[in-house]
C-alpha cells in the first residue's frame, strides 16, 4: 500500500500548477463549445500536453507516452485550480480512440486533428427506438448503391446532434447475417441531405438529446471504419470507454461537500437540516459510500498501472457511481423539504437548481450507457460467471456460461 505518487510525479504536479497559475487569465469563462476563446484554450492545452496528451503528434496530439498518473494529476490540478480542462464530448472521448485503433490512415489524418482542436464536433448514432439495451438489434439500414451508402432509419438519444458537424453511426449493412455480424460503422456529415433532427425534451425540461431521422441519406462508400459487418466490434470498444467515464467518485466527493454545506445552512422550524439526526445519519451513510467508491477507484487505477484487470472492481463502477449520485442529490432535496421542489425561476431556488436537475439527470444516467439492469447482467455473467440468459434456438432453450 503506497498512496504517494513519488517525487517525479510531484515535480510534474508543480509544473501543472504553475501552468495554471500563469495562464489562468486565458481560460474561457462559460464560453460555448465553439467560442474562439474555447478553441484557443484547447490549442494551448494540447501544446503543453494537458489535452490530447497521448495522441500521436502526427495527428495533432501532444504525443506523450501513456502515463495514467500524469493524466490523473492533470485532472486533479485542473479541478483544484477551477479552470476548465480540455474539451470532451463524444468525438474526442470515443471516436478518436476508435479511429486510432481501427481507422484507416486517411481517416486518422482527416478526422483526428480537427476533432481534437474542437473544430469538428461529433454526435453518436447508436440507440434506436427499437434498439436500446438490445443495441445489436438495430434496424437503420445502409444499402450500397454504386459508390454510395444509402441510409434509412431513425436514431434516438443523439446528444449534440443539433450542433454536430459529423456523426459516427451504427447501421445494418448485412441484413442476412446474424445480428452482431450485420452491422457497420459509418461516418458522415450532419448537413447531408435527408437528415432531420428533432429535439427530445427530457424530464429536466431541457432538450439534452435528439431524435435523428435518415431518409435516403447518401454517404461515400469509403466512410466506413473497419470492414463491412465489423461495426459491432468497433462499437463495443467505445462503449467500454463510455462506461468508465460515468460515476466519477471525485465529482461525487465535491457534491458531498456542497451537500454538507447546504445542510448546515438550510433550516426547518429554526433547526438546521444537519441537526436533524435522521438526515445527518443519511449524510454519513452516503459519505461512507463515497469513501468506498473513491478507494475502489484507486484500486482500479493501481490495477491499470500494473497492467492488471481490476475485474469486478471495474465492472461495478457505473452501477454504483450513478445510483450513489442519484441518492446523494436526492438527500439534498429531502433536506430542503418544500424548498427542494423549487425549479426554474422560483425565487427560493438554491444553488441554481442544481440539486433538482442533477437528481433527475442522474436517473437518466442510471438508464443511459447500459441500464443498471444491464450492468447487473454484466456483473453476474462476466464477473461472477453465472449462466447467461437462455436463448431460443430451433424451438429450444439453450444455456451458455459467459467467459469470466
Amino acid at each position: 500500500m503506497d498512496l504517494s505518487y513519488g517525487p517525479d510525479y510531484e515535480t510534474f504536479r508543480e509544473e501543472v500548477r504553475s501552468f495554471i497559475a500563469d495562464h489562468r487569465d486565458q481560460a474561457p469563462k462559460g464560453a460555448g463549445q465553439r467560442a474562439p476563446e474555447t478553441l484557443a484554450w484547447q490549442k494551448l492545452l494540447i501544446e503543453h500536453g494537458y489535452a490530447a496528451r497521448t495522441i500521436p503528434k502526427e495527428y495533432g496530439g501532444y504525443g506523450a507516452e501513456p502515463d495514467i498518473l500524469k493524466t490523473r494529476i492533470i485532472a486533479e490540478e485542473f479541478a483544484r485550480g477551477k479552470v476548465p480542462s480540455g474539451l470532451g464530448g463524444q468525438g474526442i472521448s470515443m471516436l478518436v480512440p476508435t479511429l486510432l485503433e481501427m481507422g484507416s490512415e486517411a481517416q486518422k489524418e482527416q478526422f483526428i486533428r480537427p476533432t481534437l482542436q474542437g473544430e469538428m464536433v461529433w454526435c453518436q448514432g447508436y440507440s434506436e427506438p427499437g434498439a436500446g439495451s438490445d443495441l445489436a438489434s438495430l434496424r437503420t439500414s445502409a444499402v450500397l448503391d454504386g459508390d454510395e451508402w444509402v441510409i434509412n432509419g431513425q436514431k434516438i438519444w443523439t446528444s449534440t446532434a443539433q450542433i454536430a458537424d459529423w456523426i459516427f453511426c451504427l447501421v445494418r449493412t448485412e441484413p442476412e447475417a446474424p445480428k452482431h455480424q450485420g452491422i457497420s460503422f459509418l461516418l458522415f456529415r450532419m448537413d447531408t441531405p435527408g437528415i432531420e433532427i428533432r429535439p427530445l425534451v427530457d424530464m429536466t425540461g431541457v432538450a439534452n438529446f435528439n431524435e435523428t431521422f435518415f431518409t435516403d441519406v447518401r454517404v461515400p462508400k469509403e466512410q466506413i471504419v473497419g470492414a463491412r459487418g465489423q461495426g459491432w466490434m468497433v462499437a463495443n470498444s467505445i462503449l467500454g470507454n463510455e462506461r468508465d467515464s460515468l460515476g466519477n467518485p471525485d465529482v461525487a466527493l465535491a457534491r458531498l461537500t456542497s451537500l454538507t454545506e447546504l445542510m448546515k445552512q438550510e433550516t426547518v422550524n429554526g433547526q438546521r437540516a444537519i441537526d436533524n439526526p435522521v438526515l445527518r445519519d443519511r449524510l454519513m451513510q452516503i459519505q461512507a459510500r463515497v469513501m468506498a467508491l473513491r478507494c475502489n477507484d484507486l484500486r482500479v487505477l493501481s490495477a491499470k498501472l500494473n497492467n492488471a484487470d481490476a475485474k469486478l472492481a471495474r465492472m461495478i463502477v457505473k452501477l454504483q457511481g450513478t445510483e450513489l449520485r442519484h441518492e446523494l442529490e436526492g438527500l439534498a432535496i429531502d433536506a430542503m423539504g418544500e424548498l427542494g421542489l423549487a425549479y426554474d425561476d422560483n425565487p427560493y431556488l438554491r444553488d441554481h437548481g442544481s440539486w433538482q436537475a442533477q437528481y433527475m439527470f442522474y436517473l437518466g444516467l442510471i438508464i443511459g450507457g447500459g441500464t443498471s439492469q444491464i450492468q447487473k447482467n454484466i456483473i453476474s455473467e462476466r464477473g461472477l460467471g453465472m449462466p447467461k440468459e437462455p436463448k431460443f434456438e430451433k424451438g429450444q432453450l439453450t444455456f451458455a456460461t459467459a467467459k469470466s
Binding site: T260, K264, P277, M284, Q285, A288, N296, S302, I316, I379
Partner: protein, 354 residues
C-alpha cells in the same frame, strides 16, 4: 502509487486461508459450537498471528494493521473460533500505545501462553446498568458482552475511559458466560467487586486507538464472511435447477448476486484503506474506522440476507450451515458500536453535531 496488497501480503492471505481451509472447516466450527474447544488458535500462534501487531522489541513481528486486517478477513471467511480480536489486536495495541508490558504479557501473547479478553463496550454504549467505576486502582461494576470470555486476563475500560488490566482469577471478580446468536465467539459478563487492577493508561487516545483497530478488524471479519456467503450463493445458483434451468440463469436470482457483488467489492478497497490509515494516517484513522465499521455492517447485513435467500429453503436450514456466517455478520454489526451509533461518532468528529 500502489493501492492494493503487496506480494508478501498476498502470500500471508494465502497461507492463513490454506491453514483455515484445513483446520476451521464447517465441521470443525460445528464441533466447537457443541463443545467450545478448538485448536485453531494454537495453529495460528504457530503461524505467528498473535505477533503481527507486536513490535519486534516486544517479541513480535512488527507487521502492519493491513496485515492484521487480512487475517481478520480470513477468519471471518471461515467463521473461525479464535480469540484474534482481543489477544492479537486490541490488547497489543492498547498495551503498546500505553508503553506498558507488565510481566512481559506481550511475549506471553505472542507465544500463545496468555489470552486477553476485552471489556470496553460500556465506553461506547451502556446498557442494563452496566459500567465500570474505578476507585484508585480498584474496579467495581459490571461489563457485558466481554470478548473472549474465559481468557487469562481482561483489558477493562472504566467510565472515565481509563484502561486497566485484570487477571481472570483476581479476587472479587466473578463472571458468567453469555450466549449470543454467534456461537463462534465466546462472550461473557464480568462483575467486579473492588477488584485490584493494573492501571494501563488514562489517556483517552489510547482507548480510541484500541477501538479503531477493533472496529476495522470487525469490519474486515464481516468482509470475509460476506464474501464467503456471496461465493456460496453464486455456486449454489449455478448448480441448483428449477423449471429445468439453473436458478442462476433467472435474472431475479442473478441480479441478487450482482447487487451483492456490487455492494461488497468497494468494501474491500475501503477496508484496505481504513487499515492502512490506522498506521499511516493517524489524523483520519478514527473517521475511517467509523465508516468502515458502519458501512460493512450495512453491506454485511444485506449480503447475509440476500445470500440466504438465494439458497431458498436450504439457506434456512442448519444442515447447510449458512447461518454461522449470517450470525457472525450480525455479531460484528453490534459489537463496539452499531452502525447508527458509529455514524453519529463520525458526524461528531467532523463537527456536524451541535
Amino acid at each position: 502509487m500502489d493501492f492494493g496488497l503487496s506480494e508478501e501480503q498476498t502470500l500471508l492471505q494465502d497461507s492463513v486461508n490454506r491453514y483455515l481451509d484445513e483446520n476451521s472447516s464447517l465441521d470443525h466450527v460445528r464441533g466447537y459450537v457443541e463443545a467450545p474447544d478448538s485448536d485453531v488458535w494454537s495453529g495460528l500462534v504457530e503461524l505467528g498471528v498473535p505477533g503481527i501487531l507486536v513490535t519486534e522489541a516486544n517479541g513480535g513481528l512488527s507487521m502492519t494493521a493491513l496485515d492484521a486486517a487480512i487475517v481478520a478477513e480470513a477468519l471471518g471467511s471461515h467463521t473461525a473460533p479464535a480469540p484474534f480480536l482481543g489477544s492479537a489486536v486490541m490488547a497489543p495495541v492498547a498495551l503498546q500505545a500505553a508503553g506498558k508490558n507488565p510481566e512481559d504479557l506481550l511475549g506471553a501473547i505472542v507465544a500463545g501462553e496468555q489470552r486477553v479478553g476485552i471489556a470496553v463496550g460500556e465506553t461506547i454504549a451502556t446498557r442494563a446498568d452496566a459500567g465500570i467505576t474505578s476507585s484508585g486502582d480498584s474496579l467495581s461494576g459490571k461489563a457485558l458482552f466481554v470478548l473472549d470470555h474465559g481468557a487469562d486476563a481482561y483489558l477493562v475500560a472504566d467510565t472515565t475511559r481509563s484502561l486497566f488490566l485484570v487477571k481472570a482469577d483476581a479476587k472479587g471478580l466473578s463472571n458468567q458466560h453469555l450466549t449470543t446468536i454467534d456461537r463462534t465467539r465466546r462472550t461473557g459478563e464480568l462483575v467486579f467487586d473492588n477488584v485490584a487492577a493494573e492501571r494501563i493508561s488514562d489517556d483517552p487516545t489510547v482507548l480510541q486507538k484500541t477501538l479503531n483497530f477493533g472496529r476495522v478488524m470487525l469490519a474486515a471479519d464481516t468482509l470475509g464472511a460476506a464474501q464467503n456467503m456471496l461465493d456460496q450463493a453464486v455456486a449454489y445458483a449455478k448448480e441448483r435447477e428449477q423449471f429445468n434451468r439453473p436458478i442462476g440463469s433467472f435474472q431475479a436470482v442473478k441480479h441478487m448476486c450482482a447487487e451483492m457483488a456490487a455492494d461488497l467489492e468497494p468494501c474491500r478497497a475501503l477496508i484496505w484503506f481504513a487499515a492502512h490509515s490506522l498506521d499511516e494516517l493517524p489524523e483520519e484513522a478514527t473517521l475511517n474506522a467509523c465508516h468502515a465499521k458502519a458501512h460493512l455492517a450495512e453491506v454485511g447485513k444485506k449480503v447475509a440476507k440476500t445470500a440466504t435467500e438465494v439458497h431458498g429453503g436450504m439457506g434456512f436450514t442448519d444442515l447447510l450451515g449458512l447461518h454461522y456466517w449470517f450470525k457472525r455478520i450480525g455479531f460484528n454489526r453490534q459489537l463496539l458500536g452499531g452502525p447508527e451509533q458509529v455514524r453519529e461518532e463520525a458526524a461528531r468528529l467532523q463537527d456536524l453535531v451541535a
